[in-house]
């Protein structure tokens, strides 16, 4: 087994030995020097809860790891610790919603989408309860291995009737999505970026609207359609591709369901652009296939490529290494786009 040394352990290693990259459960996906905001979900939920007394916080022993502890500190009597029991967490959330409350229930995306799926399906989605499921470590944002890498959560929740599915890009979007999903009546699954969360979209005059895709930059050769952190990567790739005189547009699609079909069709209908869907998710059943299906049904047939995670159990390791290996780093995106353009 490959040793995974923590950063702090490096001083104990021989001076001549190369420092190993870490697979620790890092709290942020921000790259070095990137602008960030701390715990945007926790702070936004506190603000929203000040005006909406129906909002409650619930977690399954991951309050500190989903930034919900900030809500818990602000509203201790509105914060429910349900123990490490995800089925209970979502069943009880359904019960609280049935009594008129708006529970925000947090855990890791793997546990909501895999372990508690039937509970969410039956007690929340089928009963159409007003529960907001907010889950950390979406896609490949943990180097801990498949147990914590939620590479199929979007496909699973897309398949669930009644469920709204959100994949936010950055701190600004999370801040704006929290009040938006609180006001939406019905079940919502939102991916969560926790800790020091990159701040990107403020430079684009962006504002989140539930169900709306937004064109963040225009370009005539490539159209990135992306969600979540892949929008950040697509924006970086678009900038980098300028040096190669490749002009790329970025359409950000934070609401995976319901999909903003009009915006996607309009963007894809513009002739001559290579459409590249980029998602932090397996290529099976996520945004890429959602867009592909839409285009096929509507008879819109641009050149089409998908960037996403492979249909395999991913490795443990350092995130930058893994993002390179699986093709979702900015560099990997640029290389693939250049290859496709020939």
């Amino acid at each position: 087994m490959k040793p995974a040394a923590a950063n702090t352990a490096s001083s104990k290693l021989g001076a001549g030995k190369p420092r190993l990259t870490t697979s620790a459960m890092i709290a942020s996906i921000a790259s070095e020097g990137q602008r960030t905001k701390p715990a945007p979900f926790g702070h936004a939920l506190v603000e929203m809860a000040k005006e909406d007394s129906s909002i409650l916080g619930m977690t399954a022993d991951l309050g500190k790891y989903t930034d919900l502890h900030i809500f818990g500190q602000a509203f201790p009597d509105r914060y429910y610790q349900m123990g490490m029991a995800e089925q209970l967490l979502f069943g009880a959330a359904s019960g609280l919603a049935a009594e008129g409350f708006t529970p925000f229930a947090t855990t890791y995306a793997v546990f909501a989408s895999r372990r508690a799926y039937d509970f969410i399906h039956q007690t929340i989605a089928e009963e159409d309860r007003n529960v907001k499921i907010v889950c950390a470590l979406p896609g490949l944002t943990s180097g801990y291995g498949p147990s914590h890498q939620a590479t199929e959560d979007l496909a699973l929740f897309r398949a669930m009737p009644n469920m709204v599915v959100i994949d936010p890009c950055d701190a600004l979007e999370i801040e704006q999505a929290v009040p938006a999903i609180a006001r939406h009546k019905g079940p919502v699954y939102m991916r969560l970026l926790r800790g020091q969360v990159p701040l990107v979209l403020d430079e684009y005059g962006y504002s989140f609207e539930l169900g709306k895709a937004k064109m963040l930059r225009e370009g005539y050769e490539v159209l990135f359609i992306s969600s979540g952190i892949m929008t950040m990567r697509a924006l970086e790739a678009a900038k980098a591709l300028e040096k190669d005189r490749i002009d790329a547009a970025v359409l950000h699609v934070p609401t995976i369901k319901p999909l903003d079909t009009a915006a996607i069709l309009e963007a894809c209908g513009r002739p001559g652009r290579l459409v590249v869907v980029a998602e932090n998710h397996t290529v099976n059943g996520g945004l890429g296939e959602a867009v592909a299906g839409l285009l096929m049904r509507q008879g819109v047939h641009p050149a089409f490529r998908m960037i996403g995670l492979p249909d395999e159990f991913l490795a443990a390791g350092a995130l930058p290494t893994l993002h390179d290996r699986y093709g979702i780093s900015t560099g990997a995106i640029c290389n693939r786009v250049k290859g496709w353009l020939g």
């Binding site: 123990g83 089925q87 009880a92 359904s94 609280l96 009594e99 007690t123 089928e126």
Partner: protein, 282 residues
């Protein structure tokens, strides 16, 4: 109107008998159904709806009602019978049971039926929902109770024990759970599928107020409900372990080799009604 729907001059025995009869009539509509379970649980449901619970038949979502969560959704035929008897579901809908467009599907679903508070079918959900309901009622300062019925087979589900642990942790003394111990599961006797005894010891160790009664003895069931309701304010959830006899009230079904899904031949529904009618209480 009164918040209590207890009918006038109708004995609890007669309520239970009526529930059994409604259930058999529904079973006859489809020629199938979990009739043996409906017959075994009729006394518990009669006690819940005509002795213990607070509700308004013409306003099933009245905020002040006690909540009844049917975790074992396949017992829907029994709950529909109770809801019909309680006047929450009109009599005439009985013959639509399990049919297309009916509000009475084979498995209980919250969005279909007045008085059905949760969607069952998938087993082991009810207690977790009940925990949330109880927390919510306490938040609202309501003294409404949450009743939840589940089957002994559901004790196999880990989620049930998550909820049992949680209800004690959160001191949910507004929760009254009833487990129907008829000792039969889909694959056979519970003792061979997954042994769950000693149930009293286990539940007491989990911090519950536990009573075990003959679930077909109306007097004892009533006393158990009364004692469970009296737990309110004492910081412990209540469990009533109801030992029941599948097919109760129809001797030839009681005697039939026990099955989770009991086979009743077409001509036997009328025989079952006749057998019930022989035991009709005043």
């Amino acid at each position: 109107m009164s918040s209590v729907s207890i009918g006038h001059n109708v004995s609890l025995e007669r309520r239970a008998w009526n529930i059994r009869r409604h259930a058999v009539l529904m079973g006859e509509v489809q020629g199938q159904g979990y009739i043996a379970q409906a017959l075994d649980i009729a006394d518990v449901l009669a006690t819940a709806y005509f002795h213990a619970m607070r509700y308004r038949p013409d306003d099933p979502e009245w905020e002040g009602r006690d909540r009844f969560l049917l975790s074992n959704g396949h017992y829907a035929i029994a709950l529909y019978a109770a809801l019909i008897e309680a006047g929450i579901v009109p009599d005439e809908e009985l013959e639509s049971y399990g049919s297309d467009e009916s509000r009475l599907p084979m498995s209980g679903m919250a969005s279909y039926t007045p008085g059905m508070e949760m969607s069952g079918g998938s087993l082991g959900l009810g207690l977790s929902i009940a925990v949330g309901r109880c927390l919510g009622l306490k938040r609202k300062g309501s003294d409404s109770r949450v009743y939840t019925l589940f089957s002994d087979g559901e004790l196999d589900e880990g989620s049930v024990w998550e909820a049992i642990m949680s209800a004690a942790h959160h001191k949910l003394d507004n929760l009254i759970a009833i487990v129907d111990v008829n000792k039969q599961q889909a694959d056979g006797p519970s003792t061979s599928v997954m042994a769950f005894e000693p149930l009293i010891d286990k539940l007491e160790a989990f911090g519950w107020f536990v009573q075990r009664v003959d679930g077909n003895d109306l007097g004892k069931v009533q006393a158990a409900f009364d004692a469970a309701k009296a737990q309110y304010g004492r910081g412990k959830p209540s469990m009533i372990i109801a030992d029941t006899l599948m097919g109760k009230g129809v001797p030839f079904l009681e005697a039939r080799e026990k099955n989770h899904f009991i086979r009743v031949e077409a001509h036997e529904w009328q025989l079952a009604l006749a057998a019930l009618d022989e035991g009709r209480p005043s």
